[in-house]
Every structure is written in structure tokens, then in C-alpha cells.
Symmetry: C2
Subunit: 340 residues, 2 copies
DNA sequence: GTTAGCACTCAAACCGCCCGACTGCTAACT
DNA sequence: AGTTAGCAGTCGGGCGGTTTGAGTGCTAAC
């Protein structure tokens, strides 16, 4: 448990670092955050905070920068709430109220306004979970490979390819197909994606199918991952304005990661959450993009359709602002959807 | 008219600069391109080529780099044809033949394969020009503004807002609406976009409407510009690998320009051209993105539907490769479309 | 427990130097 | 006249040394 003063100092370091992106010196903290005690005292505190893993010193004659642990602590316990400026709140409302068009238009508008206001990358994912599985078909391509086709009530997903173990013959494939259909037909695609192998339904008799089933299910998971998902992204290059991407190589890496929409969608949606709930993923904690933090909120968009609205920024992100923007936005969206 | 030797030297400078991105020295040219004469001679030639505007010397003790004029000349007259390597040709064919799905899938596949092979940004634009205008409606919003709505046989375009001159009353608006409908109804959207104001149909009596018409038409042009257009882009961040974007600020500017899909689509499509024809726009020649060159080819995708396939790269782009890739691609696409 | 003060460290900016990559020019040569 | 060797001159960029200043840790006194 941290003393009150330690908390204030840690908070000061994080706030200052978020704003200035520079290591924070004891003197700065004293002058602008804690004028009632001396810089020497603060230095002592900083030193213990460092040994506790909250702070990092890039080199001996430099100030401190917050570790990921510090950011986590800041988000969970230190950060005081803030409201958007009136101007910004108005801007958002104005912008979103003008766009009372299709859901797609609103999604686009949301990404734009978030990216503009926060200066970070914004992502919106729409998940339609009403699709149910009609049939699973296995096609022996007779070159040792098998094509796995999954049919849903709204569309056909294809292209799942699996290596076939040598000893498999037509009958066994037919048998495997019967089993798979028995298990999955009529289920929502979403349940299917989260399906956890090995499953109890396979009895001893079919133990030999296990390896094949595992492969097939992995493929199907991958193929169907994006089913019913709509990903909208905006402001990737806003990130280049931040000092962590001062060199092009880092910028390029970031942008390349952003191209993988499946992965981004996965990050935004992998933890459910109630309507309007906010989630923060910092750096290496989850598989957030390298050096980034992701803030997400969820909104329900109707029966079986849910949306995730996210902001991707550097770990040194202005969490207060981002959280309050997302809060405002989700409030508006919930309101907007409720009206219909 | 340039002497044969001047041409060879100019070609050498361009080739070397495309490959290495460094100013080219007389000695290099002599050694790898023109061993039969001395570097001093080449220096003399370089000097005159510079005074003719083909070359630029960044500073006195540096080699020469080609000017845009040189690139133009290179593309038009100097560049020798080249074929793709067998490996690349195969790669393209394989990749595109696998994707015999919807037109959209093919478009996406095309941008991907082009970007991967060339290492530049690739854009595909599909233009459906079959949409005709059914009606134009003017709605007085009675706050000094007017909403312009254009209805086509396939969808409604909205959101065109125009400031209304004070003296306009309901009757005049109705009159204006009648005029606009008379002119535009039944026409293809495409004709409409290129419509050139002022138009002769407005007689003296309606001269007072001119200012308003002009505004309305500008709005409508903008609103309908993207009608029936489908833009697909890939490999924006491939550009960051090239030395012209070594600093982030330039990279950011480039990417910001790329966000404006309307403008990019416009650049790709603003000059018609026969099926399979290739167009090259270099730097400031046309309104290509700053510091970039754009190579485009056109393919017909059916009745009233045409596609533009383009590559956007730095002015110092490998034109030979890009042109041969586009050539190959358009050939395959034409073939593919023809089959159906 | 706090604080002033001091010695110490180190990154970054600065400076002057030299090296080497090129050129332009001149004078000789074909 | 065109070509070429040779040489002086220019300038960017890399290298090493110095200075500066920001910041710390430690110590001793309060």
C-alpha cells in the first residue's frame, strides 16, 4: 500500500509524462505539484517508487518515466475523473446528431470524431451474432488435403484447408462430418468461435478423430472469426504525430500492425462487458499492439448485435481524455439506439 | 533534340537514381554505363544536361539527380521495355486465379498483389456509370440554408447544403428546381459530374439565378462525385520504406493525403483511356500527391462499369517494373472479365 | 523524517578538424 | 572540335574532444 504522498508523486510523474513525454525531474514535481516539500524529499520517494517497480530511470542523470505498472495503477486508482470541455462535448453531439443515417454511417462518424478529438487511432467493431450455422461440409480434395466449408443462414464461408492424416478414408470423413454437424448446427456462430476443444462429446470410439477435429476446429475458428464483424478504423496516421513514433521504422511497424484488422477486432472484442463499460489494456498486458494501450467501450446495437468502440494510442496516452470521450460517445450511441 | 550519348547518360542517371536514391557521379556513370569515354567527358555532358533542365545538382560537390522533366523524358522516350521475371508473372497469375470470387474480392486481391510486388501504394477504383438521375429536389430549410437532394435510379444522395441568397422566395426555389430537373433528369451521373458551368441553357430571364445555380452545382458535383465509385487501397505504409519518407513528418503528410479517397479516385480516373492503356503522372505535372508519381491503367469491367488500377509511388519510382506489372494485371483482368 | 548542499554522471549540443567524394576548369592531345 | 588527364576547389559528413546543464544520490545537519 502506497502512502498518500507516494501516490501524489506517482500521479504527478504520470500526468507530467503524459503531457510532455519527457522524463520527470524531482524539481519539476516539487514546483508544479508538491510545493510543500523539498525536491530532496521527493527524490527519496522517487527512489523507493523506482525500487517498487513503478518508475524507470533511463540513465542516472535523468528524471523518471512511469512503467506500465505505474500506468495500470494510475488508471485503476490514481486518475481523477474529468469531464470533457463544453466545446468538445458539443462538438461530439453536433457531429453525431447530424449523422442519423445508417448504422454504417454512424460508425464511420464515430471513428472520425474520436480520432479528431483525441489525436489517436480510433476503431469501431460491429458484431452481428445472430448468424447460426446451417451445415458443415468436408470435401476431400484427394491430394491429402481437405476443404472445410461452413454454411450459415446468411452466407457461405469457405477456404478452410486442412491436411488430412494418411489413414483417413471416405467413410471416416463422412463420419467426422456427421459428428461436427451434430455438435454445431443450429448454434450461433459466436458460440462456435469460442468453442473450447477438447470437447466431451467425443467418446472413446472417436478418439482417433481427435487430431483431425482439433485442426478442423482451429481452421473454422479462424475462418469464421470475422463472420458478421464489421471493422471501421480511422486516424492511423494521427499516431505519427506522437513522439514515440519519431522514427519512421517504428511508425511503419505500428501501421503494419494496424493493417491486421482481424487482430485489432479481436483485441477490441475479446472481453465482453456490459453496455457502456470501459476496458483499458496497457502495453504488453494483453496482446495490444506493441507499445500501445487500447481503451474500449461496448454498446449494444440491438438484438444480437453489439459494438465495440476503441481508441488505440501510445501507452503514454491521455487516459482521462480518452475515457471521458468514450464515455460521452457510448452515452450518445446508447441513447440513439434506444430511440429507434 | 538530344544526342545519342546525352540520352544514354541521362538514362544512366535516372536508372541509377531510381535504384540507389543517391546523386549520381560522373565516375559512376563512366564505370557502370559508359566505359568507352572518360568521366571528364561525362562531366561536360552532365553540365549541359543540367543547363537544359534535366538534371539538378543538390550542391556543388555532389552528383546530379534527375528533375521531373528528366523523369518525364525517361518515361516517354528513354525507358526500355522490360518483362516481369517469370517468378513474378507466375505469382500474379497464381494469386489472381485463386480469387475468382466477386468483383470486390478481385479488386482487393489486385491491390494486394500490386503493393507486394512493387512495394508502392496501390489503388483500384471501380466506376459504375449506369446510374441516371431521376430527380433533383431543393428543400428550403428556412434558416437561410437550402438542402439539395439528388435522386438516382439506384439510390438517394443527400446532404448537399447551400446558403440561400436573401431575396430568394419559395417561388424562385421552385423555379430553380424545375430548371435543374429539366437539364439533368435522365442523364448519367457521370455526365453530370463533368458538367461545366456556366451553361448556355440559362437565358437572360434567369441570370439572377446564376449565383445560386453555380453553388448548387458545385455541391452536387461534390456530393455525387463518389457516386457509383468504389475505392480500394492497399500498401500505404509500404511508402515509408522509401528514403523520401525517412522523416516522419513527410510520411505523415503523405498518409494524410492518402486519406482523401475522393481526391485519389479523381486522380486515377480523370483521364479516360482505352482498355489497357497506361498513363503516367509525375509529381507536380498533374495534381498527383506531393512528391509522388501515379501510374494508371484502365480496364472495362462490363457495360458502363470501368475500373482504374493505379500505383502511387515516389517520383523516383521504378517505372519499368510498375508499368510491366500493370500491363500484366490489366491483361489478366481483361481476360477474366471477357470469360464471364 | 526532512532538507540544503555538494559531488558526480551523462546526454546532448557544439566545435573544429579532416577526409573524401565530386566538380569545374585548364591545358594538352587526337 | 571533341576528348581527356590532372589538379584545385567545394562542401557534406563523420570523428573526437569539450562544454553545458539537467538531474541524481549521498551526506550531514536540522
Amino acid at each position: 500500500m502506497l502512502s498518500e504522498r507516494k501516490k501524489r508523486i506517482l500521479c504527478a510523474v504520470v500526468d507530467s509524462y503524459i503531457e510532455k513525454a519527457n522524463p520527470v525531474a524531482s524539481k519539476d514535481i516539487q514546483e508544479t505539484y508538491l510545493p510543500e516539500c523539498s525536491s530532496a524529499t521527493i527524490r527519496n520517494e522517487l527512489s523507493t517508487l523506482e525500487s517498487m517497480g513503478y518508475l524507470i530511470q533511463p540513465h542516472v542523470s535523468a528524471g523518471r518515466i512511469p512503467s506500465e505498472k505505474a500506468f495500470r495503477f494510475y488508471v485503476n486508482e490514481l486518475m481523477y475523473e474529468s469531464n470533457l470541455s463544453v466545446r468538445e462535448a458539443e462538438l461530439i453531439e453536433q457531429y453525431l446528431n447530424r449523422k442519423v443515417g445508417s448504422l454504417e454511417e454512424v460508425m464511420t462518424a464515430v471513428t472520425h470524431i474520436i480520432a479528431e478529438i483525441t489525436n489517436y487511432t480510433s476503431v469501431v467493431v460491429k458484431e452481428d451474432m445472430s448468424d447460426t450455422i446451417t451445415a458443415i461440409k468436408l470435401l476431400d480434395l484427394s491430394n491429402g488435403k481437405m476443404l472445410v466449408v461452413i454454411v450459415t443462414d446468411s452466407r457461405v464461408l469457405k477456404d478452410g484447408m486442412v491436411d488430412l492424416p494418411d489413414e483417413f478414408n471416405e467413410n471416416m470423413i463422412a463420419q467426422a462430418q456427421r459428428w461436427l454437424n451434430k455438435i454445431f448446427c443450429g448454434k450461433h456462430v459466436k458460440e462456435f468461435i469460442n468453442f473450447d476443444y477438447p470437447f466431451a462429446l467425443v467418446n472413446d470410439e472417436f478418439a482417433q478423430y481427435n487430431a483431425l477435429f482439433k485442426k478442423i476446429i482451429d481452421v473454422l475458428k479462424k475462418v469464421s472469426l470475422m463472420n458478421g464483424m464489421d471493422v471501421e478504423m480511422y486516424g492511423e496516421n494521427k499516431m505519427l504525430a506522437h513522439s514515440e513514433y519519431a522514427n519512421v521504422e517504428d511508425a511503419r511497424k505500428f501501421l503494419t500492425q494496424m493493417e491486421n484488422k482481424e487482430r485489432i477486432a479481436e483485441i477490441l472484442t475479446n472481453d465482453g462487458g456490459a453496455d457502456g463499460s470501459l476496458t483499458v489494456k496497457i502495453g504488453s498486458e494483453e496482446n495490444a499492439p506493441e507499445g500501445c494501450a487500447v481503451v474500449t467501450t461496448r454498446v449494444s446495437l440491438g438484438e444480437n448485435v453489439s459494438g465495440s468502440i476503441g481508441v488505440i494510442g501510445p501507452v503514454r496516452m491521455n487516459y482521462r481524455k480518452v475515457l471521458s470521450v468514450l464515455d460521452k460517445i457510448s452515452e450518445i450511441i446508447i441513447d440513439l439506439v434506444g430511440k429507434e
